[in-house]
């Protein structure tokens, strides 16, 4: 089926060339990082995870969000999702590859990365995270590809794909749970040390993933002859609605516990993020922007008239997607490190080079996504046509 990807319109190729240019720019900067070390980033002794890991965390969520189309379709036989299930699976593939790339660019000794499997350490959450992430990636590639191939050949998909599909559901929950466990099991980091972190991660994932999928459906409808179907989008928007409300609720629980209990080690981080701490408040405007976007998005989705407004919906979804990105990407990681365990404040903002490498990773993801979606939509057009 790959041959489909090399036949496309002028716009398709322009987009591909654009993505390749971004990737190229990022590669050049990455060579600098590879040769000279992570000194080119703005990470520091106190803020030892930065933009890379923040985006990694967020994208694990986007990948897990794909399960929100898989569950209704395969477990509840919700036929409306028949056309977009493959999109959810391929979105997970692209997101996971970005995740793995973010881990790759984040480590100080990338050539030693396989030590994780050479010297497996079963007590390390990171070891388990590499397993579930790669497992979920493999599952989605196999499932997505086989099902699409079967659709193209107009035959039933092979029987062995069924158990893999069912397996992919706990895996989806698993990747984000384990990713949350990376953070919430650390004794010295009050902001992350909360049992609700994994549920909160999942809620924001189930909002951000499907929200992005809705936007993608709009794009597909505009640029291809394939129509994902308005009803499917409507159902997705309801999923986004409940997930973002759950996310806000969890966040509110967090805020209540932290402020009412008034325990300094937990309070300081939330204070830094929402109001500033000892005169440092770089993230305050970001956090409030994120919260506002998420609340507005939730309101727009709760009200049926607004939710069913075809013009408004993609913007609502964008608001939620960006809001969740700020909350989970920027705030979650930096917030955990400020103040430091010794209550020093070192603020963090990514360096220009860090941003370029990050954009290149995103471009790689979009390149994969473009190719996979191009194949998927074309196959579906062929079959219908």
């Amino acid at each position: 089926m790959l041959e489909i990807a090399i036949k496309g319109s002028k716009n398709y190729w322009l987009w591909i060339v654009f993505l390749l240019a971004v990737i190229g720019a990022g590669a050049v900067v990455y060579i600098d990082q590879f040769m000279n070390g992570l000194m080119i980033t703005n990470m520091s002794r106190d803020v030892s995870f930065g933009f890379y890991i923040a985006n990694f965390t967020f994208l694990v969520g986007v990948a897990a969000g794909g399960v929100m189309v898989v569950i209704p379709y395969y477990l509840h036989n919700y036929e409306k999702f028949h056309r977009i299930t493959i999109l959810g699976e391929f979105l997970a593939v692209a997101a996971l590859i970005m995740c793995l790339l973010f881990v790759l660019v984040d480590v100080g000794q990338p050539t030693r990365l396989l030590n994780v499997w050479l010297y497996p350490s079963v007590k390390s959450v990171l070891f388990w995270d590499t397993l579930v992430l790669n497992g979920y990636l493999g599952l989605n590639i196999i499932i997505g590809w086989k099902l699409l191939e079967a659709e193209r050949n107009q035959v039933e998909p092979p029987l062995w794909t069924k158990p893999l599909i069912y397996l992919s559901i706990p895996f989806a929950i698993g990747i984000h749970t384990v990713t949350a466990y990376l953070y919430c099991g650390l004794p010295g980091r009050g902001y992350w040390l909360t049992a609700i972190l994994a549920p909160r991660f999942l809620a924001s994932a189930f909002a951000a993933g499907p929200a992005f999928l809705i936007i993608l459906c709009y794009i597909i409808k505009k640029f291809t002859k394939f129509d994902p179907g308005w009803e499917a989008i409507q159902t997705l928007s309801k999923i986004v609605c409940w997930a973002i409300i759950a996310n806000l609720f969890f966040f509110f629980c967090e805020v209540f516990v932290v402020f009412y209990s008034n325990i300094p080690g937990h309070l300081a981080h939330m204070q830094y993020l929402l109001f500033g701490y000892h005169g440092y408040h770089a993230l305050v405007p970001w956090m409030w922007t994120g919260i506002t976007l998420m609340i507005l998005g939730a309101v727009f989705l709760v009200i049926p008239q607004l939710r069913n407004n075809k013009t408004l919906l993609p913007f609502t979804c964008a608001m939620i997607f960006i809001g969740a990105w700020i909350d989970k990407g920027l705030g979650m990681i930096s917030g955990g490190f400020v103040p430091s365990p010794l209550h020093h404040v070192t603020e963090y903002a990514p360096s220009g080079k860090e941003i370029i490498i990050t954009l290149a990773v995103y471009a790689t993801g979009f390149l994969i996504l473009t190719i996979l979606f191009k194949i998927a939509t074309q196959v579906k057009e062929e079959v219908r046509g």
């Binding site: 000279n36 992570l38 520091s44 002794r45 100080g108 990171l126 300094p264």
Partner: protein, 271 residues
């Protein structure tokens, strides 16, 4: 016959010794030659669990400075304030001081013990420099976090790092509640004033921290900070009731950093 490594050779030899002809003929032919033996240094110091007691009554600014300098010099810890030798390291980029590296350093009381921050702290402690370093925790969160066992706990309680194996994921830094770890954001060598060949430098991309002078204990010597501390720092066996550290802890009231975390730090501060 040389297998890939001595260790795997010994493993194979061990299996062979159990009784199967799996081992090659060479083993029998050479049975009169003894196998290589690895051992600890004869004069090395040992303990069931190494620990450190810092007597705050004996700590002064001079002592702190001497300890830090002795430690950092001997372990080739880079100093970002050091002026780079342009000839040897041309085109060295400017440093970001937030990316500094330290093994042993000075903190104020409320930073060293943020959970013991008292509104009306005795003035003496308010002004006192507190030496902080890796606590070599009994339940070290960094050891658990490390995905490659590059950070590990030795039998004698020292939390050590294998710089050869570290992938630089920095998960240990997030896990450490004491901020004891530093990451090499860049090649440290241009910032080492005088490279002491007795201890390796580190390379860019790995995490590092205090090793309780494992290399000195192995030679039967006391850690550098102990030697420089004029008696303010004592290192010894926490599990040995007869040890000097235990005697100190028995006689004086002492505190540890962030006990509530349950990591069981092995560094005590006599107050």
């Amino acid at each position: 016959m040389m297998k890939k490594s001595r260790r795997s050779f010994l493993k194979v030899a061990g299996v062979a010794a159990v009784g199967l002809g799996a081992s090659p003929a060479m083993n029998f032919a050479s049975s009169d030659i003894s196998h290589p033996v690895k051992s600890k240094n004869e004069h090395g110091l040992s303990a069931h669990r190494w620990g450190m007691v810092i007597d705050t009554n004996k700590i002064t600014d001079e002592v702190v400075e001497a300890c830090v300098e002795a430690c950092h010099k001997a372990h080739n810890v880079p100093d970002f304030n050091h002026e780079v030798d342009e000839e040897k390291y041309p085109k060295t980029r400017p440093v970001n001081h937030k990316q500094e590296i330290k093994w042993l350093w000075e903190e104020e009381f409320h930073n060293a013990f943020p959970d013991k921050e008292d509104e009306f702290l005795a003035e003496k402690y308010h002004d006192l420099p507190f030496l902080v370093t890796c606590n070599h925790c009994k339940n070290a969160p960094c050891v658990k976090a490390c995905p490659t066992q590059a950070t590990f706990k030795r039998e004698d309680g020292i939390v050590l790092m294998d710089y050869h194996r570290c992938i630089g994921c920095r998960f240990c830094m997030a896990a450490c509640p004491f901020g004891a770890r530093s990451f090499n954001f860049r090649d440290p060598r241009p910032f080492i004033e005088k490279n002491d060949p007795a201890f390796p430098t580190r390379t860019k991309g790995v995490v590092e921290k205090c090793n309780l002078c494992a290399e000195r204990l192995a030679k039967g010597e006391q850690p550098h900070c102990v030697e420089a501390s004029e008696g303010a720092i004592v290192v010894g066996d926490l599990e040995d009731p007869e040890s000097e550290v235990r005697a100190l802890l028995n006689e004086h009231y002492s505190i540890r950093r962030k006990q509530s975390m349950g990591t069981e730090p092995s560094v005590y501060y006599v107050m």
